[in-house]
Amino acid sequence: MVALATSSAGGKRPAPRARLLEDERWLAFALLVPTAILLGLFIAYPFVKGVILSLTSARVGVEGEFVGLKNFVKIWNDGIFHVTVWNTFWYTGVTTVFKLALGLWLALLLNRHFRGKAFIRAFILLPFIIPTVLSTFAWKWMFDPTFSVINWTLYQLGFITQRINWLGDPDLAMTSIIIINVWRGVPFFAISLLAGLQTISPELNEAAAIDGARPWQRFWHVTWPLLLPVTMVVVLFSVIQTFADFQLVYVMTGGGPANATHLFATYAYQLGIGTGLLAEGAAISLAMFPFLFLIVVVQLLYIRRVEVR
């Protein structure tokens, strides 16, 4: 109050010109509006709608009525859904372990100086760049029951005499899908981990070497702990993507043979879009949510912890 009094007495106060966007809050609001509209309309709204849909008996062309948790009870007792849940976790777990191990190995190989490094690095990312559906078709052709080039090679090398029906047998089909997912994911792991490796000062490894650490010990005691934060984030990202995967299975097996390779997404698609049971499809999609939510929370907590540190 005192300050106000002195200022009105001591100096003229110009009328603030109309500069709404000079106010941080208004500018922030203006800059965020387009994003908020798009995300609200096509993420928040569908999410709410999905929850509502899963509580009705809607089908294509039929509004349906409120049925409570009936759809969830139904999928809970659905044998195919059980297989789907098992498949999804198995698929996510196995591929992540392999992607991490192979990706780390490749990153360590690439973290050396050799001629043509930039070239090789550019080329090995191709599996990650090329549209998944298109490269998966190449694999499907390679795994073709009759014309498989893999079978041909194994036969020529004398490993097999009978053909391997890669996509006809449930276990083999799952294995094939896992192989392709690992193939597509390794470059992502390798390049991300390579970026992490490059932030580790070489002096640390040199100091450890002078202290008498063997290469394996240097990796285990110096490189790995420093790489862990990047690794965590990459793994969590990959887990989410893999857990919610669709394209690969859709192209390779469509969930077959005999619904043996369904993931959440493909089964939701088959019921929701294929058969038109919208409500049940939405319910299956939403069944992914608790696990995804858990991963996201872990990731948020982890990022915050790293930031605090």
Binding site: V2, A3, T6, S7, G10, G11, K12, R13, P14, P16, R17, R19, E22
Partner: protein, 364 residues
């Protein structure tokens, strides 16, 4: 050009940190004022509030006779030089300098005239087409200055502009800055943590600590009559010596006393110190006000010390000595024949003695 008035200025961050407390300051037109203090003292926050980059929690800032509290930085007619220069990396030196004028819709010919003129003053004509990353630290500094000059603003603001330069260049640019101010005469507010910069550049120096103004005055006033313990210790290099003493009555007036040290307070100081008799106080003496005693020096203005380290700087020699439990540094003549672990008797210049209230830390 204009005077700057700061009245009862306060800044509270997020309702918690009180960064600037009740700062009052009148800066007349054409004056060069330096805000100095340790990091976190509120000097930069004050400057940024003048610039309009921080909102004001309470109080007023006037440029000329206009209250600028609610004006956007673009409307305040000021120019600022940043610590990291903040040169626009994607623009040439010329465009860096012209940007402010373009934003204000000056016509091309006028812009060119002003840029050339500023480049002329700073001696950077040959750099105009280069990009900032092709420049050395000193050149970047000049471009940042040039960008401020072309605008011909009411006030220059400097936020530690020399601290990214190496020591030699810093001394050189300090002189250049002073010359520039003599030539242009624009009101300037300069923030630094370096008291040497503050002393050499400022017409007046504002010493701040913990958001509070400690003392405002011209450099020699701050040096000769520091208002409190903090200013006394902050201004001057090497720093003033302090000893915790007790003020006691004795023959010929008041004395300060601690283990290994007993000095008589000279007349004027003694009369001011009378209320402190029997209480503890802080005695201060600058290293340059000490010298090696000879036989003519009276005992009441000298003390016996044990030399711990001898630092020979060439122009002077610093003796790190111990008196009782206190450390005393003396700046003595360069050729002094004293070695470490020897005893030496130091004489005090009586009218250069300082005394501070131990409780309030204010000068007596």
């Amino acid at each position: 050009m204009a005077q700057v008035t700061i009245r009862q200025l306060n800044k509270v961050y997020e309702g918690a940190v009180h960064a600037v407390k009740d700062v009052n300051l009148e800066i007349p037109d054409r004056e060069f004022v330096v805000l100095v203090g340790p990091s976190g003292c509120g000097k930069t926050t004050t400057l940024r509030m003048v610039a309009g980059l921080e909102s004001i929690t309470s109080g007023d800032i006037l440029i000329g006779d206009t209250v600028v509290n609610d004006l956007a930085p673009m409307d305040r007619d000021i120019a600022m030089v940043f610590q990291n220069y903040a040169l626009y990396p994607h623009k040439s030196v010329y465009d860096n300098m012209a940007f402010g004028l373009k934003m204000r819709k000056f016509d091309k010919a006028e812009i060119d005239k002003r840029v050339q003129h500023a480049a002329d003053i700073l001696g950077i004509q040959q750099l105009l087409s280069r990009r900032p990353r092709q420049l050395s630290g000193g050149q970047r500094q000049r471009v940042a200055l040039g960008r401020a000059i072309v605008r011909n603003p009411q006030v220059f603001l400097f936020d530690e502009p020399l601290s990214n330069l190496d020591a030699k260049l810093r001394v050189h640019m300090r002189v250049e800055l002073r010359k520039l101010h003599e030539r242009l005469g624009t009101t300037a507010i300069y923030v630094t943590h370096d008291q040497v910069e503050a002393m050499t550049l400022g017409d007046r120096v504002v010493v701040m600590k913990d958001g509070l103004v400690q003392q405002v005055g011209d450099p020699m006033t701050l040096y000769n009559t520091p208002a409190n313990l903090f200013v006394a210790g902050f201004i001057g290099s090497p720093a003033m010596n302090f000893a915790n003493v007790t003020v006691v009555g004795g023959e010929g007036g008041l004395w300060v006393e601690t283990k290994g040290l007993k000095l008589r307070l000279p007349g004027a100081l003694a009369s001011r110190a009378a209320p402190l008799t029997g209480k503890s106080a802080v005695f201060g003496i600058r290293p340059e006000d000490l010298r090696v005693a000879n036989s003519a020096d009276p005992a009441e203005y000298s003390m016996d010390c044990e030399v711990e380290v001898v630092e020979r700087l060439g122009s002077e020699t610093l003796l790190d000595t111990r008196v009782g439990s206190e450390t005393i540094v003396a700046a003595v003549e360069p050729m002094v024949a004293v070695r470490a672990r020897e005893k030496v008797r130091l004489a005090v210049t009586p009218d250069r003695m300082h005394l501070f209230d131990a409780e309030t830390e204010k000068a007596v």
